[in-house]
Symmetry: C2
Subunit: 180 residues, 2 copies
């Protein structure tokens, strides 16, 4: 048997390149060739990892979801998690753009929505658990509100409608008011 290649690690490597480019031009604006160049592999290599471009994007969405989720389980309080989800810090601005890009794409290209819903469900579950531990009434409702608020604030920061500081203040106020 000849050469064997670790396709899974290569897939991740390519997914990273997809994210970098999606951050710059949006996910529809990334071409297979640019991805290949960014990932330092040939176009053929990308094609061998993913039969089609959509398959590649799908993998990338899932990949991003994993990364965000990984950062969260470490945190403890509702407020910390919310701030983490909101991706307000400068160093997470790129991740926020990627996320928004995929969300918008998913609203129009149904297949992409699957992995996204998965990620949101996981976040929701985490927030429900924390809300329950905090003794809040209606944890599912509070979780939904917090998640939507965080997402909306992130978007408004990306657009430039709010500054990161303003968004953070709004989020903190909301969390502070949760104890009724």
């Amino acid at each position: 048997m000849p050469k064997q290649v670790d396709y899974d690690s290569r897939r991740r490597q390519i997914a990273e390149a997809v994210c970098l480019l999606a951050d710059e031009h949006g996910p529809e604006g990334v071409s297979m060739r640019d991805v290949a160049a960014r990932a330092q592999v040939s176009l053929g290599a990308v094609q061998r990892c993913f039969r089609t471009k959509e398959e590649m994007l799908l993998f990338a969405v899932h990949h991003v979801g994993e990364r965000v989720r990984a950062r969260l389980t470490a945190d403890a309080s509702l407020g910390q998690v919310a701030e983490e989800v909101a991706l307000l810090r400068d160093e997470h601005r790129a991740q926020a753009r990627i996320w928004l890009a995929f969300v918008a794409q998913a609203a129009v290209k149904e297949p992409l929505a699957g992995p996204l819903r998965e990620s949101y469900a996981a976040l929701h579950e985490l927030l429900v658990r924390l809300a329950t531990e905090s003794g809040l009434a209606d944890p599912p409702g509070e979780a939904r509100a917090l998640l939507a608020l965080a997402d909306g604030l992130t978007t408004h920061v990306l657009i430039g409608h709010l500054s990161a500081e303003q968004a953070e203040a709004v989020l903190r106020t909301h969390v502070a008011g949760l104890g009724k």
Copy 2:
């Protein structure tokens, strides 16, 4: 002088076509040719109205913003406006998709962000006025929170993470809690 054409009304007609197509394939996925076909004009006519595709998209963003804003000034209460902004009703689902599509595009293509910020600023101002009339403390903050919450909920409905009913419930609960 020969034939004179009302370019402005044609621009609006084309913008409508852009919206219809952006709702189906996203704003990057609409081609000049498809727009022309949808607007029942020739490709040349579109080119004469807008020198470039970006110019056309920019006009379309502004156009959508106007339409949403027009529907709002009629309403009165904070809650009504919020529900209207959230675009939760089925018949506004298309507008919501268009809006999200442009927002995502703007996060990556800076020129598009201008008209969007304009629209958001107008909405913010309206909410601030209503919040002030309701005697709330910190009207700007509450307005920002409400706008972000509505936006986030809309997004989550579009993705399929929440049902319209769940989103509406969250929004109503938040508004109800505004009186402290």
